[in-house]
Amino acid sequence: MITLAEGLRLPTNGLDYTILAIYFIVVLGIGFAARRSVRTSLDFFLSGRSLPAWVTGLAFVAANLGATEILGMAANGAQYGAYTVHWYWIGAIPAMVFLGLVMMPFYYGSKVRSVPEFLLHRFGPSSHLLSSVIFAVSSVLIAGVNLYAMAIVLQALLGWPQWVAIVIAGFFVLVYITIGGLSSAIYNEVLQFFVILAALIPLTVVGLKRVGGWDGLTDSLTSSHGDAFLTAWKGTGIGEGNPLGANWLTIVLGLGFVMSFGYWTTNFAEVQRALSAKNLSAAKRTPLIAAFPKIFIPMVVVVPGLIALVMEPTLGKDKDGLQYNDAIPVLMRDLLPNGVLGIAVTGLLAAFMAGMAANVSSFNTVFTNDIWAAYLKKGRPDSHYLKTGRVVTAVGVLIGMGTAFIASSFSNIMNYLQTLFSFFNVPLFVVFIIGMFWKRTSAAAGFWGLLSGTVAAMINYFGLYKQGVISIPSEQGANFVSSIVAFVVGALVMLVVTLFTKPKPAESLAGLVYGTRSPGMEEPPAEGDDAWYRKPALLGWGAIVLAVICYVPFSF
């Protein structure tokens, strides 16, 4: 949960508010202009599967670049130093490439409209319903927590009362998604991507000049925090100590494999962007195109966190003083003149709204397709589901706003709930990966793998770690370990259950399992998609190589 210290009020003026007002007008304009393109439920939920790869790719990275992520990763930068790059280079890139190259043919080629729907066809109704309900509940809740975080930030930065921020942002998101559907959400995400960069780049440039350039920054941090603070791997041997509280094994397996693959490959708020691409090649390229900006985002997010630490050495030291989460707001307050400051405020607000919109637009899809149409009202005409989607969007935003108001009095409970839901992605990934590659895996194995993995992670986190039965030096370290536990338990349970239950008939698995194909999937690449720079394998491996190269300066 993000809380900001007192005294962070930004010196905004009319110029800054003009820039903000223009943005709000454009946001609504996109919603209204996208309205005429929505004719079917597929248009509303998946943009008719017709967007170009560069649009879905930027939306893919932007949906993850919410404001809580930006403020949080800058905070991690100030707290853990250069170790924070692990969240990007090992904790995102391999999983994004895997999603694009390995998993996307199954997702996009099988024509499913959501991640849970894949479970329905591969396994059956029990695992489908379980994951749909958990996803729907958690996305509304996360949307609400996001909204609450935004209200706190805006109260500190602009002096807006919390309810004003919640109502305004909620209202704008509600309007533009209800009217324009996913196209409107994606277009706003692409726009937000550029605005947030226009805010963060000047912030980083001015900040670096203030602390004497990169050399000045590293010199001051090395003398105040030691050598290891600006390396990615020092002290990560098993048994050694480092600020992150995790060793190389838990970093590579827990963060780099289990947690990040769980998040990037099964989180429908992300995968939905790829499913809206216009053909299989564009769908595969969506996460690969997103991987390149993702590699460089630490330069404008983690570096400002380090700069803030030099400018305010007491950051995070004193309970009543500035906290790590204040890193970027502090730089905005101290370094940006009016004008760019308005861009920065707009970028932050846009990032909050886009983060919430990603949750809402994936929630309405899963609720309408996977709960309403699959179990409650089957076989209605398409217009019924389009209308349901719009109503559900409005209801989802309103529940999110309600959650935001509740969160202000029960913020601890919200933290717990978020941790709890975070344990669901990992078993989901186990079920997907085994289901995709092992034809024999049965329907029952899917359900029990999902359930047991989730429960095991909770027992490890709440039972063993929180009660002090096993000792892990930090919260992050505990998350990594819990994920590994979820993965191992889920996989073992699936293996055992599969051996004792009947497999699904092979003909029902066409296009859902490795080695099979959906009818019609062999279509040749579309005109222009055969250009060398559009080859998915080249983009994917290029991203991996680039991420490895980025590690070099931080490894010795």
């Binding site: 079917t40 008719g48 024509k111 726009l191 003149p337 009016n338």
Partner: protein, 100 residues
């Protein structure tokens, strides 16, 4: 092919997004051109205090020019490579004449 796949194909045929959704490059280009002009003007009229705050970099001027350039880039890209709405043949899945 399963029922749901037929349903999705049917919806893809009726979908209006490809034919009727506007080009996002127009929005990015337009907004960044406007922002670019506003922020550049703020940079031209920057006060001593503004400059001092930003460590003697005229950050408004540079950011404004950068945003303006990005906006013009998107507008130019759209002019040079306009999105071609798919033909009726492509939408119905029939092989159409090769695109020129």
């Amino acid at each position: 092919m399963s029922d749901y796949q037929h349903e999705v194909e049917e919806l893809e045929r009726e979908s209006a997004t490809a034919a009727r959704l506007f080009d996002v490059r127009r929005i990015i280009g337009g907004l960044f051109a406007v922002y670019g002009v506003i922020v550049t003007i703020a940079g031209i009229m920057a006060s001593e205090a503004d400059l001092k705050k930003a460590q003697d970099i005229n950050i408004n001027l540079w950011t404004g020019l950068g945003m303006l350039a990005l906006g013009l880039f998107f507008l130019a890209w759209m002019q040079l490579r306009p999105a071609i709405p798919p033909t009726v043949d492509e939408l119905t899945g029939e092989p159409g004449p090769p695109a020129s």
